[in-house]
């Protein structure tokens, strides 16, 4: 399990964000901050996901699918091998039924299709990270 709120100053949870788009990461980071989370690592490709997970042991992972070298499904499998309880949310433009089924079968907790509604993603992040509503 990742560090709890007490381990990370005032943040409610820690997270890493893996998406090849700077714009997408910027948006997700804003949402994570708005619900009291802290982004402790970010990467532009799935090849860095497993190492980053091991390094930070985050409470939550936000993972894109379409990336240049290692895609999100492979990165997801690598992360789940390290920690079968990892909390991974896939955020991808590839929202077809087969892709969603495959990601959830590989251990993702939720699948969000881009473009997304920020309030909806906030709710999902809080739910997966186990943040209680005030």
């Amino acid at each position: 399990m990742g560090p709890s709120a007490a381990d990370s100053n005032s943040a409610h949870f820690t997270s890493i964000v893996i998406d090849d788009s700077d714009f997408a990461r910027m948006n997700i980071k804003k949402i994570i901050a708005s619900v009291g989370g802290e982004v402790v690592g970010e990467a532009k490709d799935g090849k860095d996901a497993a190492e980053m997970y091991s390094q930070h042991n985050p409470d939550l992972v936000i993972l894109d699918i379409t990336m240049p070298i290692v895609d999100g499904l492979e990165a997801l499998a690598n992360i789940m091998e390290i920690d079968k309880d990892a909390k991974v949310i896939i955020v991808s433009s590839l929202g077809n039924k087969e892709m969603i089924k495959e990601a959830l079968a590989k251990g993702a907790k939720q699948f969000v299709t881009k473009p997304f509604n920020a309030d909806h993603v906030s709710m999902i992040i809080k739910s997966v990270a186990g943040i209680e509503e005030a």
Partner: protein, 153 residues
């Protein structure tokens, strides 16, 4: 490109544009064009593989790109910054991802690669012998043209 691809493809593309830039979208006439009919300052190419191979290409002029960037980022810039270009690439990724997903849900096997922003001159040489399916999309930010260069396997 098979005709049955076109409608779900165009509809999902227009829906994404509508959601992302919050603009009324009107679709122009779908046509088959040659490479010299791809115009615009900004060209984004997304490679498609699977039952069909080729590319989805979005093109637009600088002014439209700036307007879209401002709509996506909630800003009022008058130039294209690197983050603007990334936002437009991400828009292209969402349009292509949703368009191909609509076809995957109909039973096709299609995968897309990350978007690539390329110089127009370099791109048109590689596709000059293929048929291009083109549809203009008119938005409050300006006109975006979506081109699909897909060869059925």
């Amino acid at each position: 490109m098979k005709f049955e691809y076109i409608e779900p493809f165009v509809n999902s593309t227009a829906r994404v544009l509508d959601e992302v830039i919050q603009s009324d979208i009107s679709k122009g006439k779908v046509s088959l064009v040659s490479y010299d009919e791809i115009h615009g300052d900004i060209v984004i190419v997304i490679k498609v593989e699977g039952d069909t191979e080729g590319s989805i290409i979005l093109n637009m002029d600088n002014e439209t790109a700036i307007n879209i960037c401002n709509a996506m980022m909630g800003e009022d810039r008058d130039e294209l910054t690197p983050m603007c270009m990334d936002a437009i690439s991400e828009l292209a990724n969402m349009m292509a991802g949703n368009a191909t997903s609509a076809l995957v849900d109909l039973g096709y096997d299609l995968r897309i690669a990350p978007p690539l922003v390329v110089a127009r001159d370099g791109m048109i040489k590689r596709i000059s012998e293929l048929e291009i399916f083109q549809v203009p999309l008119f938005t409050d930010c300006g006109e975006i043209t979506m081109n699909a260069v897909l060869r059925t396997n």
